[in-house]
Symmetry: C2
Subunit: 569 residues, 2 copies
Amino acid sequence: MKIVRVNMDTLQASFEEAPKEYELIGNRGLIAKILLKEVPPACHPLSARNKLIFATGPLAGTGVPTAGRLSAGGKSPLTGGIKESNSGGVVADALVEHEIKAIIIENKPKGAGLYALVIAPGKAELVPCDDLKGLGNYDTHRKLLERYGSKATVASIGPAGEMRALAAGIFTSDMEGLPGAVCARGGLGALMGAKGLKALVVLDGGEYTIPVKQPDRLKEALKKYHEVIRSTPQTAQVYPKYGTSPTIMTFNALGGLPTYNFRRGDFEFAEKIGAEALYTTITERGGEGNPTHRCMNGCPIRCYNKYPDSEGKLMVSPIQFETLAMLGSNLGIGDLDAICRLNCLCNDQGVDTVEIGVALGMAMEAGLLQFGDGAAAAGVVEGIGKGEALSRVLASGAVVTGKVFGIERVPAVRGQALPAHEPRAVKGIGVTFSTSAMGADHTTGVTFREKVDHQKPEGQVEASVRAQIKHAAFDTLGLCFFVGTAVQDPMLTVDLVNAVYGTDFGEEFWVQIAKDTLRAERAFNEAAGFTRVHDRLPEFFREEKLPPRNLVFDVPQEEIDRVWSELLK
Amino acid sequence: MKIVRVNMDTLQASFEEAPKEYELIGNRGLIAKILLKEVPPACHPLSARNKLIFATGPLAGTGVPTAGRLSAGGKSPLTGGIKESNSGGVVADALVEHEIKAIIIENKPKGAGLYALVIAPGKAELVPCDDLKGLGNYDTHRKLLERYGSKATVASIGPAGEMRALAAGIFTSDMEGLPGAVCARGGLGALMGAKGLKALVVLDGGEYTIPVKQPDRLKEALKKYHEVIRSTPQTAQVYPKYGTSPTIMTFNALGGLPTYNFRRGDFEFAEKIGAEALYTTITERGGEGNPTHRCMNGCPIRCYNKYPDSEGKLMVSPIQFETLAMLGSNLGIGDLDAICRLNCLCNDQGVDTVEIGVALGMAMEAGLLQFGDGAAAAGVVEGIGKGEALSRVLASGAVVTGKVFGIERVPAVRGQALPAHEPRAVKGIGVTFSTSAMGADHTTGVTFREKVDHQKPEGQVEASVRAQIKHAAFDTLGLCFFVGTAVQDPMLTVDLVNAVYGTDFGEEFWVQIAKDTLRAERAFNEAAGFTRVHDRLPEFFREEKLPPRNLVFDVPQEEIDRVWSELLK
């Protein structure tokens, strides 16, 4: 397969053979290796030295379900550390059809011009697109599909990314050609903006497929794989019907749903934004709504959904748990329509709903807005593209918001805001947040499905390490982690690799690729100036009791330090 | 002598005996030792765990000229590292008259109330002063002197400090009872604000003096000391006549005067803001103006001045080189009145003119204001207390301004903006900025008076180390560094200590107290999460040629790394 190397200074793109050593890895693991090799870890994230990388996985397009995740990565403008963020959608599969394993965006354009990187069969070209300047992601996708055909797929930034707002994400095509599949976290949209790249456009017409060495073996492995997904209630019934929204009531019951700027773990209006309310609203309104849907071809899980307004017109797609919580309970907003409107605005402006959700919560507590005031929050989000100063502050994320407004209590680790997993109530995730190279990021190791008493300090370090390894393995193979809810036996996945590549790995392959990824990320961060001192949650999680259960985060720091001194070293 | 320990939680203050080990040190050195012992380096700077320390020096009130510097220190809200910032003025001498070596402000108040710490003979008391909320430093000082008598001295914060703006300083009484002597850098005003402390008020009536063990020896040593000051042109003629303003034309000639946001090293209107223009304007306008003046009793140098408006009414006092450059040439403002008006507003709102000068320069280059537009800059500074979002961003300093507006080119090191010393033209200061625990801070080691070719990379590391040691020694004895321009032989100073304390130290004492201070600061920062990776200037200083001499900073990084691996380890 190929790597496309794009020089934004000379505006040239060239193809090179992907090194053999990268054959069996992709996505997050591939990004970590390339960054460690090619980017000076101490560089300014917005500088020409940083690189933006898009990567696909080794099983994409082989018929393995959910293997078409698209990863974006680079030195994070938000955290100053390494960052990989991945999305579903259809862009990665389209890239693989053009035999593209990864795209490496280098340098910076000389002027302030904006470009689209257009991938056609055997060709990659930078096309000026100043006419898209300032456009939201919805219009950007629409215009690019008009220009390049409805079968093209797109990854774009909104005004937030163009302005290099630290909370900006990258918004990629879902199956309807809408920008609903998001590489949201870590400010990679700001990195794309700093490169002068408004969009990646992948034209239809690629004909490459990754050759399967042992098709019968793959068939057999896939059968087992599907069987496990079908026989696990979460992947067979819950996700397909409700998407990720049931976690609202689960966390509410655990007393761990971020509410009113992480002041409570339960929300008086939780039911109004929970799974049943969401499902009922979508089905009763009908129209363009759909409670269950795929974001990529062949996904058996279908956690995606389409939320219609009261007239049945599509409002946003998808609405997921993290957003329901961070733009809902965390802001005291108990109204699905208000949350979905905010979500739509965030997508259009191009910011991560988690990062700006936390920043909005802090601003509400500081009295700059009122809790529960969805209209005011919407005004702030709409103000990003208008360059309003308050909007720009909040679009710079939680840490900057804390600095500008003199706020001590900042729910963030290593520069990144906490997602909707309260580490006082689900303590293992606090270990993940503390030790992951990505900062506070649930996608690097959720523990709430691990077998451990979530509210006791014991066993959390081991639970987090297990989760971090599992996530890193899935992410390095480009698989959606929701499959991981069902797939407990690593060999179910390793067998897929063995079949496609004719290898005979055992479980050690799985652990190896995961640890390689984690270690490369840690090495990058160390060289970027992070130390063990950064491996900790903000003080208030240890000091401030979280109602209603009055929990604090009490996993001893020396236990947490074992993650990197023993368990992952 | 005593240490006053103030608990802002219980609102109690108590006196304790200063440990004997602190007898011969003060100010910056004392602060470093106390912080390293008492403050967890990884704590949030605005948290109850951080402490704000005021410290005096071992020679204050003994007749040694300039020995009455007041230091403030703590973990810096701006940089996240250790910070000490000192001012002239009369507060330190007043504290010593109450036998106070240091004041340690601990914890935080329970509510949002504001307090004044009032020091009276044998007594220290927290007095609510909510009536001063939101007041500028000028009104704050005026009201406190009305309340506590015109002989009281004050250290206060303005609205910026109350709002915990990261660029907030602490403004202390000069000899006229005006807040012109400033502990400006590192955001210690934000720390004072986080403690709920609006002001420190030292009442008249203290009768303590540090006992002089060998008065005759002191007389002899002082004679030599004064003789050197009198026989050095800089301290005998230049400072007394022009203050610090001649550095404008010196740096302009070297091509190292920060101009137009560090884009040039010379300014077409340099003469308009230089020493002769300043001197002529002050003397011609007369009235309350005065080109030469003391900020503290007995100072033979008199670099302070009073700048009158066109009616002869006092506009600001003093106007110093750093401010002339950072609010002048760096903003393209070639008008003394406009600069002095900005300086006055900064003092009143309570922000560091260097930090906000750099932030304003960045904002001007980003198109948010126009270069040269003093009125617009004044509007931004006035907006701080009004809570205007853009003002709050800029009052958060250069790094935050860069993050909010997606600016790669941020003239700052370790979180703190560069003062008016261009490291491309005076390369030794670049080594100081890179390696000092304080970040970019000229007061930790200016090299432009060192004997070295400033524009060649050779010898800069040694020049910086010499300067850093000298500054640390002066700062640890509480002496104004401007004396250091004359005092080349350390024994001139060590003899003063020997006379006062009856000791018989040689030059090694000088080096010892300096290195102890530097190492304690470095140790604090390491424990706060700083590494060698942070020991570097922003990339653009190495890459971007500075007109008119087209210089880059080219001291090799491995040479710079020797500062802490060999020279100061």
